[in-house]
Symmetry: C2
Subunit: 216 residues, 2 copies
């Protein structure tokens, strides 16, 4: 049974999932890199990126859970590339180098068609020009009973939340303020869309919140 | 030296300090009462309301700090009364009965003049028709060196934040979603206004965040 999940999506105290002025130099906008302090020091994150050591505990438990049983990812175009509009630089293959940390099919929402890109380590980027239902259908087929993880960004998550298509959402709140940028819950009425808080646990680095759709 | 403070202002995971459709029956809007679960069970809250018992710990520490060294309060009109516009019911003397839990002068921001109201227990409600600087000046004089606590609501806090007039802001994040209502940080750029997070600590009932103006 496939669960559609968001994991480890991090927001500031004032609710932003990315700072203002996203660019090649600031993929998460100004100040946005600070969001992930809780994640970068975990053992799981270090392992995924080929490093040893790291901390265990609540933060690591949530980091680890984000990588378990994932059969396909869905990303918004802006999480895949800093460019906007028609693909001008076909040599761009994502932010993550030759061997991205996905290792499963990744479906990228875009208005501009592009052939799939096979990367090392079993990651393939597929470009979906249909709607979110279309992306979910393709991801579900690829996941073959495993879960689908929606990586972001905020706008992509909002589309799925408004449609009630996300079963479970783990959000981390980091001890920083961003002031402006992309607010995760902008234009989403979580109550009306059927979500409630089912877990709430903190560390010194972040507060972890799990929201679940009431019908699941 | 007077500190201008906000204490124990509580928001939902999705950032709302009150739910939608505030009224006499739902002073905090629909669902808004759920925000204060962390506060209602504390020993401090129970003492302030003449009850015995209650929990100690992180939540109580923050509740207690909110009542220490306060020489004057500032409230928005909507925190004082459910009515809007010109005062039609002069018998309305606030939500809190004959002996409100302030025990110091309280300055209510309003566009409509009204004589002060002296209550039992040393609380006097003053109605300020000037701007926030005017309210702050009057409150500062009344506080005579003690602190000024700005009680809310969200709109009032936003005005003071945008002007950088709040020295320290304690916000509690409760494990609920409200979906809509009044967002605390709407129209405020906390970074640009000079605020940063200086404390971040959680209990099972709430995450407590303290923001401080960088110049203080």
């Amino acid at each position: 049974m496939t669960t559609v999940r968001v994991d480890s999506f991090t927001i500031s105290i004032d609710g932003y999932g990315a700072g203002p002025n996203q660019s090649l130099d600031n993929p998460l906008g100004i100040g946005g890199e600070e969001l992930h302090g809780w994640l970068l020091s975990t053992r799981t994150w270090r392992q995924v990126h080929g490093k040893e050591g790291g901390e265990t505990g609540v933060d690591d438990d949530f980091a680890a859970r984000g990588f378990g049983n994932v059969g396909a990812w869905i990303l918004g175009r802006n999480m895949f590339a800093p460019s906007r509009g028609p693909w001008s630089d076909m040599s761009w293959k994502g932010w993550w180098g030759k061997n991205p940390p996905y290792h499963v099919p990744v479906f990228v929402l875009t208005h501009y068609a592009r052939p799939p890109i096979e990367m090392e380590g079993n990651t393939t980027f597929h470009f979906v020009t249909g709607d979110i239902d279309d992306a979910l259908r393709q991801a579900r087929e690829a996941a073959a009973g495993m879960d689908i993880r929606i990586g972001g960004g905020a706008n992509t998550i909002q589309q799925f939340l408004r449609a009630g298509l996300i079963d479970e959402l783990h959000v981390a709140i980091s001890p920083i303020v961003l002031g402006s940028g992309e607010r995760l819950f902008e234009g989403v009425d979580l109550r009306a869309s059927g979500y409630q808080c089912v877990q709430f646990v903190g560390s010194k680095n972040a507060t972890h919140v799990v929201l679940r759709h009431a019908a699941r």
